[in-house]
Symmetry: C2
């Protein structure tokens, strides 16, 4: 009876947004014996649980009432200061014209910026493929997402210029330039400069999403786009999800004050502030522990797992199949010469291997013959065995 009498008159923006396609995969993941390369999660080994428990007890001992009371929307000042210092010292990505706020995960940073910037019908230019969570945040605002293909060293610059020309007034360019999700690709410094130049030329802002920036296990650091932002057009988002805990939902947004001020107004209406206890816990943890030492252990873990997977793919895959060799982060991208990625996904599931159908990551409907693989979650044994099965399956798939 409900909902038949009522047409609930859902808003135009939300009517057409589907849940993340990745959730559909979850149905398959409880099959016994299944090896999953489909996760988006950091390894549970990356959570320093003992030290976090110590920090938790310290917060309870010293500041329980304050930690459980309402806080400010901008976030816990000592944590904001830590983030500013980190952005300055490690990334050269914060200046006197910027402000930093604490967000409920990096996702909320993307969502707040979207709500501040986007009118329904506005255009966001993205890498293709791109991060599903961001694409959905843009779509919930009623924006059009336009994709520009990626090359081995980042977005196609000529493709980006065409997209900016064809979408005059595009509000911003959304990028994950370091250890890109889903491809694992890192955009070269040269391309970053070109992207910046084009953004200025066409009056678009840049949303730089850098959740994996601390997780480099090979190669050399590449400066962030924010670090070359002389004109105040880059807003930068990141989080503690991949270096401390994903489930606690503590991230940050950094950008020109005028924009961040608007994000604060929206955040206040959204959730008032991020869980204050965990902001204080993280601050205490950072005070009492060497985060870089901890990050080093995560890098070593992911380096080992990535190497196992990459070696397996190098040894096992037919030469027609390309795949990325990430220098950090959680993912790599396998591209078949042809075939529908949904069929590729299905054939893998039939062999009890879960990957992510590449189509889910596209800003615009298009053909796709790629799938995303994750190496942070499976055990070494699962990576070794699973990669072998995956390669055999893919090689067979090509021959169809």
């Amino acid at each position: 009876m409900w909902g038949t009498i009522m047409d609930y008159r859902i808003s135009e923006n939300v009517k057409n947004v589907k849940p993340s396609a990745i959730r559909e995969i979850f149905k398959f993941l409880s099959v016994p014996g299944l090896i999953s390369f489909a996760a988006g999660n950091p390894s549970p080994e990356s959570f320093p649980t003992e030290e976090m428990q110590k920090a938790s007890n310290a917060v309870f001992q010293s500041s329980a009432s304050a930690a459980l009371q309402y806080g400010t929307t901008e976030g816990y000042a000592p944590l904001r200061d830590w983030v500013k210092n980190r952005l300055v010292n490690k990334f050269s990505s914060f200046t006197v014209n910027d402000e930093v706020i604490i967000t409920t995960g990096g996702q909320q940073g993307i969502d707040l910026f979207s709500r501040v910037m986007l009118n329904a019908g506005d255009t966001v230019i993205c890498e293709s493929p791109s991060f599903i969570g961001a694409l959905n945040a843009f779509r919930v605002c009623g924006a059009n997402t336009v994709g520009v293909e990626m090359e081995e060293d980042g977005i196609s610059v000529s493709g980006l210029e065409s997209a900016l020309k064809n979408n005059k007034g595009a509000k911003f360019i959304y990028l994950i330039p370091t250890f890109h999700n889903p491809t694992g690709i890192t955009t070269s410094l040269e391309k970053r400069k070109e992207i910046y130049r084009l953004a200025l030329k066409y009056g678009a802002l840049i949303l730089e999403d850098n959740p994996y920036g601390e997780l480099r296990f090979a190669g050399e650091d590449v400066p962030t786009i924010k670090s070359i932002d002389t004109e105040g057009i880059v807003v930068y988002t990141s989080s503690f999800s991949k270096i401390l805990s994903s489930g606690m939902r503590v991230g940050y947004l950094c950008g020109p004050k005028q924009i961040i001020d608007r994000c604060v107004v929206v955040k206040q209406a959204n959730d008032v502030h991020t869980n204050l206890f965990f902001q204080m816990l993280v601050s205490k943890y950072l005070e009492d522990n060497d985060i870089d030492k901890h990050i080093q252990t995560i890098k070593e873990l992911y380096k080992r797992k990535a190497s196992l997977m990459i070696n397996g793919l190098e040894n096992g895959l037919s030469g027609e199949v390309r795949f990325t060799r990430p220098e950090g982060g959680l993912f790599l991208w396998v591209s078949l010469p042809d075939g529908d990625s949904s069929e590729i996904f299905k054939s893998c599931i039939e062999k009890n291997i879960a990957v992510v159908d590449g189509k889910a990551f596209l800003p615009q409907p298009a053909s796709c013959s790629s799938v995303r693989l994750n190496y942070s979650m499976p055990t070494d044994e699962q990576i070794t065995r699973g990669t072998e099965i995956f390669c055999a399956n893919v090689n067979e798939f090509i021959k169809r």
Copy 2:
């Protein structure tokens, strides 16, 4: 230089939204000797810090990795189940046609529902005055907020019908029917039924906000509007902010599945899920402790403080000044026969008493001669002394 070259092209919806006016008050609150009746916070005495620390350690011991990992958008299942049971057993406010999700505070429940329902230009009908956080959530969606005056027992029914007639297609009616913020008024059952009838008649949904529903210290419980929702038009929001901890940001939203499903899609884009550790902590706390016993201590605390304040006002205020006598919650409302509430606010500050300018709570610009007072935060001594000074000041103000 930044922002002068760039017109940041903020979205239409957000361009015109101001921060909560209450934040402006914060500047005044650090004056030494100031007595503040301006808070919106629950008393820190209402946080069971020892038991929460025990629950925290229990979660670390048993489930640290799971608690720090990504969770599901809908929320931690045992906590959702507890909420469903509570809604059924205590409030008769959940049926098989409903769904419950965990939100990042009650605020996020309001925000998600707004994003799901509101197109820019849509109308939300509110009590006048109403809760600032909700008004801002509606405004951030580009909605118009139309106010209907409140009477001693709730919104004016004839006023509501006029508003529905004059705003055909109004999406929903927003109410805080129990221990209303800012007035402390409880809407009678008779009026709740009338409101429901009118909502059905004019095709509007109802957003029932009940953050204080557990905090009754006088009188009898009044059934929620959700409990008489035979047609599936009521969405209900509440939280643990006033019975466990406000700063942890754990709330819930309950409503018809078709609507809540859409809220899940938006929440996923907003912040993926609410801090999982605290969802598990709350669940553990509820398992190991008697929440009703704890709530009873809060009721006694607020009863005592409210009585002190009400007695002070009864003894001290000139007969021309009206004020509400709440049966629960955190606030009461003082209405002068005339005068600008901003001037009333200023005159109180000059006497080192902070209240909240009633104008901040209006859905539409209008004259206002009322201020909100809070009794949960000040000490008994501050209430006694501050109320005396407040009354003297108000009596003098009237004579101007």
